[in-house]
């Protein structure tokens, strides 16, 4: 079995791991690490019958995810203190753990992603710089590109805690053909106990779909689809079609739901959509060492992500600048 599909099966049906051979365990852990799903996998299969070597890896992964959760929540608190009265909506992993959602259980969390009103983004930037965050990218072209065309500030890193923050003002680049309703996201957001907010569940699903299919090259897609799966299971999908249509994300949302079902839900005869097989081929492009495979498929999705993100003239200019700087995909 393709090792990425082995991982999907273990998440879908944890008891299936009890029949694994040692080589399959090895591949399962390697792919789970590469896809940043090791903590999620560990919490799913914890307590099942398994070899001692596997049980130790599982226990370590759970302890590590638990520490990651504490650190992520602390980072959110640090941002809350720095940003004062600017409304802050937590996005992605930090929102999931802050709200205690099933998508947050065991989830690896890297950067702190937040959404603030576009009109207050300069204020947010100044407040963060004053509180110890610094620029990561010193390159003037990158900096200017972010400010003119992106949906977020250039990434900032805290000089003492060494943690990154991505400050968004919407969920897709300004250059993308789709323009989600950023004000609507903020207006419909839900307060959390820690004084911050999260998106409402349908908007969280829309964000995940936008990130996967209208922006990125599907790297890390297995984890994003696991988020989609958990959110859809936990909150249902009532009103999701309308909300996705409102943001211009109908196609991306439908595809996200279909692919999440294909990977993580028991077979229920869901009809696959046009091109789903190609997406699955990209999502599961890992070998038994966790290394990326299917070079051409990945390259195609990489090119597609740029195509979606930028109009042709801007794309040409961007690639030309990057090429002169010696960047290769």
């Amino acid at each position: 079995m393709n090792p990425a599909l082995l991982l999907a099966r273990a998440l879908r049906d944890p008891a299936s791991v009890e029949r694994l051979a040692p080589a399959e365990w090895t591949a399962l852990f390697a792919v789970a690490r590469a896809e940043q799903l090791i903590g999620t996998l560990a919490t799913r299969i914890h307590g099942l019958t398994m070899p001692a070597d596997a049980a130790r890896i599982v226990a370590d992964a759970i302890a590590s995810a638990e520490q990651g959760r504490t650190a992520a929540l602390w980072e959110a608190e640090m941002a809350r203190r720095a940003l004062g009265d600017i409304p802050v909506v937590l996005l992605k992993g930090t929102a999931f753990v802050a709200a205690g959602l099933s998508a947050g259980i065991g989830r690896s969390i890297g950067d702190l992603d937040i959404l603030v009103p576009r009109g207050r983004i300069d204020e947010a930037e100044a407040a963060l710089l004053a509180a110890g965050w610094e620029w990561v990218k010193p390159d003037p072209y990158d900096d200017a590109y972010y400010r003119q065309w992106m949906h977020e500030l250039p990434p900032l890193i805290h000089r003492e805690r060494d943690r990154m923050i991505d400050v968004h003002h919407t969920i897709l680049p300004l250059t993308a053909r789709i323009t989600p309703d950023a004000r609507g996201l903020l207006e419909a957001s839900v307060p959390l106990a820690n004084g911050l907010c999260m998106l409402n569940p349908n908007d969280m699903l829309c964000h995940a779909a936008a990130h996967l299919f209208a922006d990125g090259d599907l790297a890390g897609g297995m984890r994003n689809l696991w988020d989609v799966h958990c959110l859809a299971e936990e909150f249902g999908v009532e009103g999701l079609e309308e909300r996705a249509a409102h943001h211009g994300l109908t196609g991306a949302m439908r595809r996200a739901i279909r692919l999440a079902r294909t990977l993580y839900a028991p077979p229920d005869g869901t009809e696959s959509g046009r091109g789903d097989r190609l997406y699955l081929r990209r999502l599961t492009a890992r070998d038994a060492w966790g290394r990326p495979t299917r070079r051409l498929t990945r390259l195609a999705f990489y090119l597609r992500s740029h195509w979606l993100r930028m109009p042709p003239a801007l794309l040409a200019r961007h690639l030309w600048t990057k090429w002169r700087k010696g960047h290769a995909p």
Binding site: P22, W25, T26, F29, A30, R33, A34, P51, D53, A54, R56, I57, A59, D60, A61, A63, S64, Q67, T70, A71, W289, G290, R291
Partner: protein
């Protein structure tokens, strides 16, 4: 990957995959008496960045479950070193079960001496000399501190001897097994020494830490006590996963420095150092 070696060092299993045969053959030979894990804790990838670089000016890139983005590749002649660096990298970045101390250790009568210091302080050499004196070698690179029991677990990988330490150990242990001389590495000449049979046979047995030693090579003999506060700070700097273990790491380390005495020693040569250590331990 084309060539694969599996080995267990102390409680940690590794699977090393490699695009070339020679590094794996060297591992298989030098680690021949080590057990093989069924399910490894970590994977190491030694690979050519482009397919043709496997044959044309071959250079070994180091990757694995955990990677640093700008790790410099090594020439194929130093493939064994690349494998060792790859395994160390997985430990440094990925180990979460134990507090990892960048230290060497040797044990006698169930009591372990931990030796830590900057590169060149003599960690590896002193551990190897103690092994030659009949101590059980626990490791020359990492000591694994169990946050639950406070015991030190062994990690007796190949002992990495550098430059002047190589002839010293070749003279001290004429019958020991050595790896090839790796000339022109980023740290000069490196030659690996295989730990003795006892170190390998007992590698699953933890030991009670009895002394934390901060040796310095190249000075007149001197000794002073290191207070727990100083030992704590120096050991946080010598740990690659102290921050990641968070409260567990803090508890393990404070317990260690409170219960185990610390000593700093300066020494001009191995013989003097051995006498000082054996008098202290």
């Amino acid at each position: 990957m084309r060539h694969v070696a599996s080995l267990r060092i102390g409680p940690v299993g590794f699977r090393v995959g490699c695009d070339w045969r020679a590094p794996v053959a060297a591992l298989d030979d030098l680690y021949r008496d080590y057990p093989k894990p069924e399910i490894p804790d970590f994977n190491v990838h030694l690979f050519a960045a482009r397919p043709w670089r496997r044959l044309l000016r071959p250079s070994v890139h180091i990757g694995g479950d955990f990677v640093i983005p700008d790790a410099a590749p090594l020439p194929l002649a130093q493939g064994l070193l690349a494998a060792e660096m790859g395994m160390n990298l997985q430990m440094a970045l990925g180990q979460r079960g134990y507090l990892l101390l960048h230290a060497s250790a040797a044990e006698r009568n169930g009591r372990a001496v931990l030796m830590t210091g900057i590169s060149g302080a003599g960690k590896s050499t002193l551990a190897a000399l103690l092994m030659a004196r009949g101590w059980r070698l626990m490791g020359d690179e990492f000591v694994l501190l169990d946050p639950v029991t406070g015991l030190a677990h062994a990690f007796p990988r190949l002992i990495s001897l550098k430059n002047e330490a190589i002839p010293v150990m070749e003279a001290a242990l004429p019958n020991a097994r050595f790896g090839p001389s790796l000339v022109g590495t980023p740290k000069g000449t490196i030659r690996h020494l295989v730990p003795d049979a006892r170190a390998i046979a007992a590698m699953a047995e933890p030991a009670e830490p009895a002394l934390i030693l901060f040796p310095r090579f190249g000075f007149e003999p001197a000794e002073r006590p290191v207070p727990p506060s100083e030992a704590f700070v120096r050991l946080t700097q010598a740990s690659t996963n102290y921050v990641n273990l968070a409260e567990r790491g803090f508890d393990a380390l404070t317990r260690l420095v409170r219960t185990v005495p610390g000593r700093a020693i300066d020494y001009p040569d191995g013989k003097t150092a051995l006498a000082m250590i054996e008098a202290l331990a």
